[in-house]
């Protein structure tokens, strides 16, 4: 298994380098450059040219590429041109921020999604199944940004106006002044700030997982080994959660591999709406500002996450299915 993992990781290296090379040239070919934000009639073209020189943007593109690649291979991502900070400082911050959001979303996606799917499968064609199907399709087809704005409107603004006992925060990661409070209060404040963005990010995907789970479970619970398990007197709970669920997990694990990179990199709208300073909004800002080093660094991290996400799926396949492990 370890040999297999090593082979897979080594195989990913040329893939990553290829991705980075393509992104480097695409982002540099886009109109504008990092000095564009200084453009104004008050700033002379000579100053802009000097800025370009200071940033090394006046060099031929292939030289810029070779220099960047050399730094990258020595582990130096350089400075963000937009934030003026070392990228080695920025990335851990935004990754950790996104990770908090993603982990809570993943819990929503898989716990809620799988539970709903199981209930639907076990109670096939019941009223609950039909209602949950309609609800799942409703949330699945709802645009994330609209849902996020509705959550903000109802649970923040209207909740406040209608005097609800709990008003959820709709912007940022912390309430102003929380830093003066104790650790418990800070944690509670952070969790409260997570509820709306994590729900907005996770609910649509959870609905999708529920549909997959229902289908997978239905396929499994009609198989002979489930009948056998029931016949030998096992409780229904054991039959469903131990025998059926494990066998129905394989397609869900595939989804995990697909969702993980999406959640880490693709939460742009949710992060923007809820002012959550994570990877998604960082990537978008970097692209708009033509912050080349930060675009490259974030692209690298996202590419690595995609590779690792797929690898994680493969490992989890082996965990739930001994046949794959044997192969």
């Amino acid at each position: 298994m370890i040999g297999y993992l090593l082979r897979r990781m080594l195989g990913a290296i040329p893939l990553l380098l290829g991705i980075l090379t393509i992104i480097f040239f695409i982002i540099h070919l886009a109109p504008g450059d990092p000095t564009a934000r200084f453009f104004s009639p008050q700033v002379s073209p000579e100053v802009i040219e000097q800025m370009r020189h200071n940033l090394g943007l006046d060099q031929p593109l292939h030289i810029q590429y070779l220099k960047w690649m050399k730094s990258f291979l020595t582990g130096d991502f350089g400075y963000s041109l937009g934030q003026g900070r070392p990228i080695s400082e920025i990335m851990p911050e935004v990754l950790w921020n996104t990770l908090q959001l993603t982990l809570v979303s993943l819990v929503i996606i898989f716990v809620v999604g799988m539970l709903i799917g199981i209930v639907q499968a076990v109670r096939q064609y019941s009223v609950a199944d039909n209602v949950l199907t309609v609800l799942a399709l409703f949330f699945y087809s709802m645009p994330t940004f609209w849902f996020a704005l509705m959550l903000s409107l109802i649970f923040a603004l209207k909740a406040s106006q209608w005097g609800w006992p709990v008003v959820l925060p709709s912007s940022g990661m912390a309430t102003v002044g929380t830093e003066w409070l104790g650790r418990g209060a800070i944690l509670r404040d952070r969790l409260l700030h997570l509820i709306l963005p994590a729900t907005a990010l996770g609910i649509g995907t959870a609905a999708g997982v529920a549909r997959y789970m229902r289908g997978a479970m239905l396929e499994v619970i009609h198989q002979d080994f489930i009948r056998t398990a029931r016949a030998k007197g096992l409780s229904e709970r054991t039959v469903i959660f131990k025998h059926a669920l494990r066998n129905a997990m394989i397609p869900i694990i595939t989804l995990l591999g697909l969702y993980l990179p999406f959640l880490l990199s693709g939460a742009v709208l949710v992060e923007t709406i809820f002012a959550w300073p994570g990877m998604g909004s960082t990537v978008v800002n970097a692209i708009f500002q033509r912050d080349y080093p930060l675009v490259m660094a974030t692209s690298f991290v996202i590419a690595v996450i995609v590779v690792l996400g797929n690898l994680l799926s493969d490992v989890l396949y082996a965990v739930v299915d001994p046949r794959i492990r044997a192969e």
Binding site: R37, Q42, N54, L157, Q161
Partner: protein, 562 residues
């Protein structure tokens, strides 16, 4: 913002610029009237859609940076906007001024001597001296620094520190902006001198300004900074006046709808920018929030590019297109009624020295006259398809504007309909900001909708002289060129202003743009934040005078005491 920002960039950049008229109650006036004592303490929470970046006089990067520089660094004098004119305050009128007196060395001299007050200290306790002033200007002129304010030093020959408190500026010639150009914020020599000037932007105190590491001279320093979330400013203990607020928190809001929700919830004391389309919602749902404005320093325009559309080479055709657009209707349609007026030219009315209301009037909406002109110029609808044509070619062009700006997105649709009514087919293209502006400056567009923030100095030659980057319509009128050159060489404002007015008049006659409207920049301000003055120098300019009544000093939205 003060000196740093005399021009806005094109289009979206105008969002965070400065314009005119005091809006909030001035705390000085309150005190002078003796009506109500002001309280100290409390935290003001300001919402901004951009983040601070480099709040340092030589290398600021954004309009918000420029506003922060304004309250973190002193200059020799403190420019202010009074009754449509710039005035330069000494330390007798403003605690932000380092000099208590300045004088020209002779009546027609090209040198000004400044006398600095004693006892000035940087936030790290080191004395502020004339050498800091001389170093700041020396560094500003250094091409390796590539400061966006470098042009302020273009006419400065030398800056000599005669002793610790006396500094003399020698200019290359006498011109109206001599005091203006010598009033920029001063940076500390002892912090930045000795390093590579080309790498000043990555100086450790700029990468990590928090904890007071960024050495400042003004009333506030950076206490903490959670990137992507908020920057907290705290009083600088070495500034001569103690700010009334205990802290200012600048929150990075990323979405304008969420930011407005935060404002309505009372979580913010101030929000910038506020869209015209958000006004009604704010009025209806947030009675405790007032709308403040920087008055009409901006105008929106349609630019006609004669290089790509031959029809635009004809002044009468450009004029006819302008006559076809009902600007008052446009203003109403964009819900800007109380905050915009039809524009007539490159100087908004707030600039009293150069705006000429008698000579420059907005183009009158007259579609019949527009049709007659187009007919006379040979543009007729010969094939009955509703679009005029000439020599077999329809009058059709594409208007480019940036995406992400709802006002412009709505405006171009109204313009499209109005031009269609006179038989002109305008297609609409929206592009991401950097891409659109790049095409503007390279003249790779046919028509454009954009906006400018107008400089405090009347010199607009960077926009209307031939071969200048910002002359996006390739405008070239020898008479205007002569007038601009003559105006720029005048020693005083009184002599220069009539020439700038004449140049503006001729540009308006030529209509390289159709000027649409002068408009305000809007802000939302909560009723608990008092004493904010807003004029062309922006909303932050007197932040040390802001205050919050003692009974309302809990953090907004939480009620937690500070």
């Amino acid at each position: 913002m003060r000196n740093p920002r005399r021009w806005s960039g094109w289009a979206g950049c105008a969002l965070a610029l400065a314009a005119a008229l005091a809006v909030g109650a001035c705390s000085d006036e309150r005190q002078a009237g003796g009506k109500k004592p002001v309280d100290t303490g409390g935290t003001a929470v300001l919402g901004e859609l951009v983040e601070p970046s480099k709040p340092m006089p030589l290398v600021w990067e954004s309009d918000l940076d420029a506003d922060l520089v304004d309250i973190m660094y002193m200059g020799l004098t403190r420019p202010a906007w009074r009754d449509g004119h710039l005035v330069f305050q000494t330390s007798e009128a403003s605690p932000m001024a380092m000099a208590w007196h300045y004088e020209y060395l002779a009546p027609d001299s090209t040198a000004i001597r400044y006398h600095m007050r004693s006892g000035l200290r940087w936030s790290d306790g080191k004395p502020i001296t004339a050498r800091d002033v001389a170093w700041t200007y020396r560094t500003l002129k250094d091409p390796r620094v590539a400061s966006p304010r470098q042009s302020d030093a273009a006419q400065i020959d030398s800056v000599v520190a005669e002793n610790d408190s006396t500094v003399t500026f020698h200019f290359k010639r006498r011109y109206p902006d001599m005091v203006f150009n010598s009033s920029i914020h001063v940076a500390p020599e002892h912090v930045y001198a000795g390093g590579d000037p080309g790498q000043i932007r990555t100086h450790p105190t700029l990468v990590h300004p928090e904890g007071g590491r960024l050495v400042v001279s003004g009333p506030f320093l950076v206490e903490s900074w959670q990137h992507g979330q908020q920057m907290t400013l705290a009083p600088n203990p070495n500034f001569s006046v103690r700010p009334r607020l205990a802290r200012i928190v600048i929150r990075a809001e990323k979405d304008r709808t969420t930011a407005l929700t935060e404002m309505k919830l009372g979580h913010l004391d101030f929000l910038r920018p506020l869209g015209f389309d958000q006004l009604q919602e704010l009025h209806e749902q947030a009675p405790n929030v007032r709308v403040a404005r920087q008055e009409k320093r901006y105008y929106e325009y349609l630019a006609w590019n004669p290089l790509t559309v031959p029809a635009f080479r004809d002044r009468d055709v450009r004029r006819a297109l302008g006559q076809a657009i009902d600007v008052p209707y446009l203003i109403e349609g964009l819900k800007m009624q109380d905050y915009a007026v039809p524009a007539s030219g490159p100087y908004p009315p707030i600039f009293k020295a150069v705006y000429d209301s008698a000579a420059m009037r907005p183009l009158r909406f007259d579609p019949e006259a527009a049709k007659r002109t187009l007919e006379a110029k040979g543009w007729r609808d010969t094939d009955g398809d509703g679009v005029r044509d000439r020599d077999g070619k329809p009058f059709r062009f594409t208007l480019l504007t940036n995406s992400g700006n709802q006002r412009r997105a709505d405006a171009v649709i109204i313009v499209q309909q109005q031009l269609k009514a006179v038989g002109v087919d305008m297609q609409i293209q929206q592009m991401e900001y950097a891409t659109a502006s790049s095409r503007f400056y390279k003249h790779e567009y046919e028509a454009a909708l954009g906006s400018w923030g107008v400089a405090l100095s009347p010199d607009f030659s960077a926009m209307w002289s031939p071969r200048q980057t910002f002359n996006i319509t390739s405008y070239d009128n020898p008479e205007v060129n002569r007038l601009m050159k003559e105006a720029a060489s005048q020693p005083t404002e009184a002599l220069a202003s009539p020439l700038w007015r004449q140049a503006a008049q001729k540009i308006v006659d030529d209509q390289p743009y159709t000027w649409l409207y002068y408009y305000d920049q809007l802000f939302a301000v909560s009723d608990r934040l008092q004493g904010m003055r807003i004029d062309v120098y922006g909303p932050y300019q007197n932040a040390w005078e802001w205050w919050i009544p003692a009974d309302r000093q809990g953090t907004p939205g939480t009620g937690k005491p500070q």
